[in-house]
């Protein structure tokens, strides 16, 4: 037997290259100045070929934190999607579709609304609220849909519809109290945006996402056994009860951290793991690194598009991911239907 396992190096290499290119693009283009030499100028002392200190400051203070956030959120959403899909044994179980992001957004908004009165205005409070919302939503969905024979995907998606509707209503309520600031906020929460992120906002959310990302990666081999169902995973040596609890917590932490900083960005967790699986197969040890890189690359590009298409204005990044992801979702539905009726 020469090589029993499909090689995953080439797709990973391509994904990494795409991420690098996307990063370069994100750093060097924008309304203030688009110049590839910005990449080089940062390393040189003083002024160089007409690039001024203000331009470098734009890169360092505006574009760089934004790039970092986009990559982190893309990576975490792809991982969370992979984990929930493996847990539910269904490729449709995306954190956005099943209401985890909506739960996070709802609670983050509640903290913002109530926090002013109570003095809880720091980013940790918002992130903490988003985490709790995500956790409650995940537990609710899993409790509703879980059964002795695994998870019922129809119930999962319907629970997602309910939670998304509720989040929509809560966000809609805001519009009656809206000043201009709040209106901008609404579009932020519904469609997601990475605009205006600063270094000061990042640390706590990045910490949450980093912890989630690390733990989901660390436990990839255990999560991988769930491909054979919960019972067989137990036979293979996994404490499935504990593993499920872990997955719920790490997914909630990651999605909570992402939503608190960027609002609801849909479909990344659906599309990216699916593409990764198509390229290298379902085993997590191979597809997870690829999904992480692809997720980061996709979101970096999507964010660049969001800035580019209507420049110098910006559109919410969720519009882009939904435009790309929703048709894909329909395609997956058709495939599932075909499999059921084959």
């Amino acid at each position: 037997m020469s090589d029993s396992l499909r090689t995953s190096r080439l797709p990973l290499l391509v994904a990494l290259t795409a991420l690098a290119l996307g990063s370069a693009l994100a750093l060097t283009s924008g309304p203030v100045l688009s110049d590839w030499r910005l990449l080089v100028a940062g390393w040189l002392p003083g002024e160089w070929q007409g690039i001024e200190a203000i331009h470098l400051q734009v890169v360092q203070e505006i574009r760089l934190p934004r790039l970092l956030l986009a990559a982190a959120v893309g990576c975490v959403l792809a991982q969370a999607g992979t984990a929930t899909q493996t847990l539910c044994r269904n490729p449709l179980a995306d954190p956005g579709l099943i209401g985890i992001s909506a739960g996070a957004a709802m609670f983050a908004l509640a903290v913002i609304a109530l926090g002013k009165g109570l003095g809880l205005t720091g980013s940790y409070w918002i992130t903490g609220g988003a985490f709790i919302g995500a956790l409650l939503a995940t537990m609710l969905v899993y409790r509703l849909a879980g059964g002795p024979r695994g998870v019922n995907i129809a119930t999962v998606l319907l629970a997602g519809v309910a939670i998304n509707a509720m989040a929509g209503a809560v966000i809609g309520l805001l519009s009656y109290y809206a000043d201009d600031d709040a209106l901008r906020l609404m579009s932020f929460w519904q469609m997601g945006s990475l605009a205006g992120v600063t270094w000061q906002q990042l640390p706590f959310g990045l910490l949450c996402m980093g912890a989630s990302s690390f733990m989901l990666w660390w436990r990839r081999r255990a999560i991988n056994t769930l491909l054979l169902g919960e019972q067989q995973a137990q036979y293979l040596g996994v404490n499935t009860r504990q593993l499920k609890r872990e997955i719920v917590i790490w997914v909630a932490l990651g999605v909570g951290g992402a939503v608190a900083l960027t609002g609801m960005i849909g479909f990344v967790g659906l599309v990216v793991p699916h593409i990764a699986r198509l390229l290298v197969g379902a085993p997590l040890p191979k597809m997870l690194p690829l999904a992480m890189c692809l997720g980061a690359a996709v979101l970096v590009f999507a964010d660049w598009l969001a800035r580019f298409i209507v420049a110098p204005a910006e559109m919410p990044i969720g519009i882009i991911t939904a435009l790309l992801g929703a048709p894909f979702f329909i395609y997956l539905l058709v495939q599932q239907k075909r499999r059921l009726h084959a």
Partner: protein, 275 residues
């Protein structure tokens, strides 16, 4: 070699208020192939799941002298393998990748490398005639190929290399349901050979003749209670089988093998009598 591996005393299982399994008292020894027989709903799968450590049971069940409840999933992972009745065909997984999943515990806790894992599964691919299918996706397999893959996975899970000091436990729920005649014998021969190496195999079976050929002991279950247990020659009697399955049976002896040969006969009266 022939010490008791699995011992059940007054084992019973309840599902809700209903007692689905009761009065199980057995000692199963190493080196044996046990076939569980019985009509649909007799409690066969329940018994197998209880032995697998899946269900809450009453009474005592000891595996290698230690109460089954005290074994952790991690400890059991290299000692007992279970082939479920429903063979999953997970999308995006190849035959080799599925069998490699059987080595999960060894990779996670016993430091087995990917290369060593490949080496360990190669003979099982070979044995079950799956080498040519190794890179095939599970969703593209036939039912029989899928069942063989799961069987290979179970045996790879329990494979310690050459030296197996401990008596392992292989639990099979209808291992031949999807197989053609050739592969039925292939799979059961492998299970039997595994038992002969000092392990214990317990299989739920519906084919009485295959049970008669391969089992060292058959265990008959009726309405959640064992009604007979012993060598096929002693247990597989026409009258007893008729009562068990509510179906007239003709039993004769195989001229060469000397084991009972069972043929189920149509009911003599036109009306099927159901209890």
């Amino acid at each position: 070699m022939h010490d008791v591996v699995l011992s059940l005393q007054q084992v019973s299982v309840k599902r809700g208020q209903r007692c689905v399994l009761a009065g199980c008292n057995f000692d199963f020894k190493a080196g044996q192939f046990i076939a569980i027989l019985g009509e649909n709903g007799a409690g066969k799968s329940t018994l197998l799941q209880a032995i697998a450590g899946d269900l809450t049971y009453h009474g005592t069940m000891t595996y290698r002298g230690r109460e089954l409840r005290q074994w952790s999933a991690r400890e059991l992972a290299t000692e007992r393998a279970v082939m479920e009745q429903q063979a999953y065909a997970t999308a995006g997984l190849t035959v080799a990748e599925l069998i490699a999943l059987g080595r999960y515990a060894r990779g996670e806790w016993h430091g087995e490398s990917v290369a060593a894992c490949k080496q360990a599964i190669a003979p099982w691919l070979e044995t079950f005639k799956l080498t040519a299918l190794a890179q095939r996706e599970l969703t593209e397999l036939s039912g029989g190929e899928l069942q063989r893959t799961h069987m290979a996975r179970c045996l790879a899970q329990l494979d310690d290399g050459n030296q197996s000091a401990t008596a392992k436990l292989l639990l099979l729920d209808e291992p031949t349901a999807a197989l053609d005649v050739y592969h039925q014998h292939l799979s059961l021969q492998q299970a039997q050979a595994f038992a002969r190496n000092g392990h214990l195999v317990i299989a739920i079976m519906h084919d009485l003749n295959l049970a008669s050929v391969y089992a060292d002991q058959v265990l008959l279950l009726q309405h959640g209670e064992p009604c007979a247990c012993g060598r096929p020659t002693d247990v597989l009697q026409p009258q007893r089988l008729h009562e068990l399955y509510n179906q007239p049976m003709h039993v004769s002896q195989h001229p060469q093998l000397g084991v009972p040969m069972i043929f189920s006969e149509p009911h003599t009266n036109s009306r099927m009598t159901r209890r």
